[in-house]
């Protein structure tokens, strides 16, 4: 015992399986356990969807997806080939892009400018306006459909038919872009303003003395330092718009020339559930883009981007 206590490693061995050791181990692994648990909870349904998409309709209708593993001979790609041939997938894909890209760029850009003003410029009622904006986060967007649509249609005559009739490409989506921008702005501003506010004030004062104007400070100092915040905001907003069905359906309707992928997918199945087998494969098609967006922006989540700026 005395020998064991002399060497630190031996002392650890001696304490193994004591209640204290157990608590330490538990604490160390509890984070891992939680993360793994969450991952499993998220991955299993996705896996189920994937497995279902490679099973024939008859099998899908009669047994659960997990039975596939005991009888893998039912494998088929017909769901994928059907969805590609039956639906207007290519057009819908294109429409989704045409909707999602401007509907992401608009609120993020405007939000960044506004957030800079809210965090680093002085103007009357700044805090009151900011609070009102944060309050908008709590407004359910369904409430806005009727007043905005009324305004679009009655005052501006912006119906999808009217806008399509002008022949200008992209114009039918303008109402939707503006709507998405409006819905996204409160969160954009809130998130970015909080991030900008945390930048060290010395940087701004130093830039001021160096002779940089407001725009220069914004583009050459604030923007480069805010890449992680902007990247996460872009992901949020893009995914929200990409996955949105309701807002798109309300503002542009279901015409195949303008409707996004989500509307197209919803139309695959009828109210009796026919064609629901196609949904599984179509869902995988629609997942490709969000995955690409996420993976390509992920590298901008740099920790410690401010390192070396202030303090030794």
């Amino acid at each position: 015992m005395t020998i064991a206590a002399a060497a630190p490693t031996a002392a650890n061995t001696a304490a193994r399986f004591s209640p204290r050791w157990l608590a330490d181990q538990l604490q160390r692994y509890i984070l891992h356990i939680v993360v793994i648990g969450l991952t499993v909870a998220w991955v299993v349904p996705t896996l189920g969807l994937l497995v279902s998409s490679i099973r024939p309709f008859s099998a899908q209708a009669t047994s659960g997806w997990w039975t596939f593993f005991s009888n893998p001979t039912t494998f088929t790609l017909s769901n994928y080939t059907d969805v590609l041939s039956q639906s207007n997938l290519g057009q819908a894909f294109f429409n989704s892009f045409m909707i999602a890209v401007p509907a992401t760029v608009l609120p993020v850009t405007i939000g960044a400018f506004a957030a800079y003003a809210f965090s680093w410029m002085r103007f009357p009622a700044r805090n009151a306006i900011f609070l009102a904006l944060v309050g908008l986060l709590a407004v359910p967007l369904q409430l806005t459909f009727i007043p905005i649509l009324t305004f679009y249609v009655q005052n501006l005559h912006w119906t999808t038919d009217n806008l399509t009739a002008t022949g200008i490409p992209g114009l039918p989506w303008v109402p939707l872009w503006l709507a998405h921008a409006g819905y996204g702005l409160p969160f954009s501003i809130y998130l970015l303003a909080n991030f900008f506010r945390a930048l060290p004030s010395d940087l701004f004062e130093s830039a001021e003395i160096d002779g940089a104007g407001t725009l220069t400070v914004f583009f050459r100092i604030v923007m480069p330092l805010s890449v992680p915040a902007i990247a996460s905001l872009v992901i949020f907003q893009f995914l929200w718009v990409w996955n949105d069905l309701l807002v798109a359906l309300i503002y542009v309707g279901g015409a195949p020339e303008v409707a996004p992928l989500t509307v197209n997918l919803a139309n695959l199945t009828n109210s009796l559930g026919q064609g629901s087998n196609l949904l599984t494969s179509a869902a995988f098609f629609s997942m490709i883009v969000p995955l690409i967006v996420f993976l390509s922006l992920q590298r901008y989540f740099v920790r410690g981007i401010l390192a070396g700026s202030v303090k030794g």
Binding site: P200, D202, L203, E205, S206, A207, E208, I209, D210, G211, A212, T216, I221, P224, L225, G304, I305, L306, A307, G308, S309, V310, K311, G312
Partner: protein, 352 residues
């Protein structure tokens, strides 16, 4: 190259929060002026008003002959080094230094020349491509200096530039800064709370307390002739001994000793001040004597400080390092009466 004048400058945030009160200083061309004082005394605010980062409530600040109250920071022809360095973390060392010149739309060739020159002076040649995060504290500090140098400003403002460095580097940088001041031949205004920095670097020192300028003078002048009790206590380490005394004509009586004053003062109460180095183990004809009960002995190698009681007053003495003293001993020490200070009990102003 220019002088700087603070003319009755006041900084008030609200009606009853005044951080700088009637501040008057004239800083000569090419002078190294140190603003020193405890934290919250208004020294940084005074500097920031000169930099153009704070508005001036009352009075005038002039750079050369030009009143700069309403001149934008970038047009004041000053450069500032921040305590935090405030480097742009996403730019290389080169770009950090080039940034102020790019803002002036200077041709690329000239920018390159100036940045290279500054990096040579500061020994940053090998780090030009690095980002600030890949630099040590001392190197970052030099980049911040470089960013100021490239502009060749009329006035350099330094806001506690050494306080984020470790003690050894601080000592080195102190010397480098003095060299730099000599080489650049520019007005330097340096804010610090560290009286050692003030004493060692300043041509002149301005001491502030609670928003009020206490005294301006050369380090030696301030050390030898502090204008009031605050200055006497702030400058010098260990701090000056302060002992309440009753004066009558030309002698002062404390609880544990009595000394002859170098000149006669009106009878009354006052505070006698004398620096630790005037209390020694050498007793001569001119010196008074005191009997000290030693509480703490500090041996620094080159010096030996004794902390103890004389009568009912605490006194610090600096004695020969070879003197053998232990805590609890009672020793007889000499007090050199030639450099005594006497402060008025009420106004705290120096009488001697």
């Amino acid at each position: 190259m220019a002088s700087v004048t603070y003319d009755h400058v006041v900084k008030r945030y609200t009606a009853d929060v005044t951080v700088v009160k009637d501040f008057n200083v004239e800083i000569k061309d090419k002078e190294f002026m140190v603003l020193v004082g405890p934290s919250g005394c208004g020294k940084s605010t005074a500097l920031r008003m000169l930099a153009g980062l704070e508005s001036i409530t009352e009075g005038q600040i002039r750079i050369g002959d030009r009143v700069v109250n309403n001149v934008a920071a970038k047009d004041r022809d000053i450069a500032m080094v921040f305590q935090s360095y405030a480097l742009y973390p996403h730019m290389s060392v080169y770009d950090n230094m080039a940034f102020p010149l790019q803002m002036q739309h200077m041709p690329k060739v000239d920018i390159d020349k100036r940045v290279k020159n500054a990096s040579r002076i500061l020994g940053l040649d090998n780090f030009l491509k690095r980002k600030p995060r890949a630099l040590s504290g001392g190197q970052r500090q030099r980049v911040a200096l470089g960013r100021a140098i490239v502009r060749s400003p009329k006035v350099f403002l330094l806001d506690e530039p050494l306080s984020n460095l470790d003690a050894k580097l601080r000592g080195q940088t102190r010397i480098e800064l003095q060299k730099l001041h000599r080489d650049l031949e520019t007005t330097f205004i340096y804010v610090t709370h560290d009286q050692v920095e003030a004493m060692t670097m300043g041509d002149r020192i301005a001491i502030m307390n609670a928003g009020i300028l206490q005294q301006v003078g050369s380090p030696g002048d301030i050390y030898d002739h502090p204008a009031n009790l605050f200055v006497a206590g702030f400058i010098g380490s260990p701090t000056m001994n302060f002992v309440p005394v009753t004066t009558s004509d030309s002698s002062a009586k404390a609880s544990g000793f009595e000394v002859k004053l170098p000149k006669s003062v009106p009878a009354g109460k006052g505070t006698l001040g004398f620096r630790p180095e005037t209390v020694t183990d050498r007793i001569s004809d001119q010196s008074g004597t005191l009997q000290m009960k030693v509480d703490v002995v500090e041996r620094l190698g080159s010096d030996q400080f004794l902390y103890g009681q004389v009568g009912s007053d605490s006194v610090t003495a600096r004695v020969d390092p070879k003197m053998k003293v232990e805590p609890g001993d009672s020793v007889r020490l000499g007090l050199d009466t030639r450099t005594l200070h006497l402060f008025d009990a009420e106004t705290e102003l120096a009488l001697i």
